[in-house]
Symmetry: C2
Subunit: 328 residues, 2 copies
């Protein structure tokens, strides 16, 4: 097995070309179908033992994380969330009451982000699994943004801060001897257990000139590669410019490992986008008005591939978080 | 655990009421969102060890069956299939090449029914699992049909023949000492391995006056109960009028057990509908033109519940196929 990326790419290569109903076809964060309104659709699977463990995750954490990951794909298009559909597989060790708790948490998480839980299918399964279908709509007044529109000369921008979800997972995994203020440690753990999709920031970027956008579910390096390949351009990212969440460097042990967590740790659900330099000020103001922050972390060149430049002048090999490698 | 039906009903009771975007909300075969065209959306999970075993199923069989089951929910609304999205979980014993075979078969099955495979998510999993999201559209000229419109006095009608999928599963399960012509046995096995969603028949029924419709994925008894509860009416079904697929009685051993297979065996993917008696002739002609057959098997009364009348005057307890009971 060569890894999730290659497998998915090979599988998507086999899909027939999109017909007239698809404005944006397979291989982006979400598929867009023509209509009034245009529909934005993405599916996302979360499986016990692969994406989370029970414990440290509680059922409510799994529900929130699954909903956030699904909605993050809509955020990356600049879409407005509408409905969620859930396929739930419940292992024998979960009772009907556990199932009710799970669905209650899914409905709460959906409505907390302005979406409605609109249907589902429940069955027994060998492990807890959630398959979430997120359906969004094109907002009036702002275009949807694919991965494929980046142009040489664009600025590369990032919402929020990275490394928190990966550092939080390390804190949850074992009793670590890390000196952290309790609120800093709590914020890292909840970045892993309760990540937030950047829905408002995504719409702000779409409305202020973003040409290409992707959510960071596979890590900055891996997702930058996806965007670069879809757009047919090269990306250079200054890792020294990437904002790290407070405490990431302490959990990582040193600056170099902190940068690696930021580059390869998935699940932060921040957005990576490119836009013309002259739109940077407006986009920054719009994203700040949405409650997040925007940082210029690099630029787009003609060519191909991704360079992650280290503060010392070296470079990091871009790769993503790989759910097909064997894990825990 | 009290069974899948009760669990799903309890979980769906917890869902918030549908907003203005939903014309038909959770709890029907599919959800319908307003728009131009109206979208018809359903999700369906198939899991190794619960819904199928490898062998006797090959990967291609699993793909075809998953696509058919998902599209059957669209058939039950009278919708036109458009896109399918797939969440695939691949166990360690399957290679990347197996994943490619699976996705190739999924794309073939989708396009064979006029739908496009438009997106997906692939991950490792403890068993082979497929979560299919089927998206359809409202056809021009015929309304969509929910489970909730049956009225006292309506005829109860059924497409095709029942019992084949359940009898086919028995033939696949073990070397049975049943005397059957090879083509009859093959047809039973392929009813289990390669069931066909009644998409054209569903649109024909929707276009010729069907007031309520449901697909038979949980068995005639269980699905008749769903339709009866959603419509707030009683259904009486004459089991002696239900067409059985050739060979079902031989596999079942006697007539009584054959009727039980027809009443409780799921997966035949036929459609159960109700319509005014005066529409019966037109609907029968329309369904026959679609390549299927339509049989009047009962009638709708005021009241509640389902009566499955046996040819000898007795009655069968209606129940469905239950994927939350422990199975093989």
């Amino acid at each position: 097995v060569d890894g999730e990326f290659e497998l998915i790419e090979r599988l998507i290569d086999r899909l027939p070309p999109p017909g007239p109903r698809l404005r944006i076809g397979p291989g982006d964060d979400a598929t867009v179908t023509e209509g009034d309104p245009a529909a934005v659709i993405s599916v996302d699977g979360l499986i016990e033992g692969i994406h989370f463990e029970l414990p440290p995750f509680e059922l409510e954490d799994v529900a929130r994380k699954a909903v956030a990951a699904a909605l993050s794909d809509l955020a990356a298009m600049g879409a407005e969330p509408a409905e969620l559909y859930v396929i739930a597989g419940l292992p024998e060790h979960l009772s009907v009451e556990d199932g009710e708790r799970l669905f209650g948490a899914l409905a709460d998480a959906a409505s907390g982000h302005g979406a409605a839980l609109a249907g589902g299918d429940v069955t027994r399964a060998p492990a807890l699994l959630l398959g979430i279908t997120a359906v969004g709509v094109e907002p009036s007044g702002a275009p949807l943004v694919s991965r494929a529109g980046a142009r040489a000369g664009d600025a590369v921008v990032l919402t929020g801060e990275l490394g928190g979800a990966a550092a939080g997972l390390e804190l949850l995994g074992e009793a670590r001897n890390v000196e952290l203020e309790p609120p800093v440690a709590d914020a890292l753990r909840s970045r892993q257990l309760d990540p937030r999709p950047r829905l408002e920031a995504g719409r702000a970027l779409a409305g202020s000139g973003a040409r290409a956008m992707i959510d960071l579910s596979d890590g900055l390096g891996g997702d930058a590669l996806h965007l670069s390949a879809a757009s047919g351009v090269a990306l250079t990212i200054e890792m020294g410019s990437v904002p790290l969440q407070a405490g990431v460097e302490e959990v990582a042990g040193d600056e170099r490992r902190a940068i690696e967590l930021a580059a390869s740790g998935g699940e932060d659900l921040e957005l990576l986008a490119t836009l013309p330099e002259e739109k940077l000020a407006d986009a920054t103001a719009a994203v700040e008005a949405s409650g997040s922050a925007l940082t210029r972390i690099g630029e787009v060149q003609s060519g191909s591939g991704v360079t992650l430049r280290l503060p010392d002048g070296g470079a990091l090999q871009p790769r993503g978080y790989d759910h097909l490698r064997s894990e825990g």
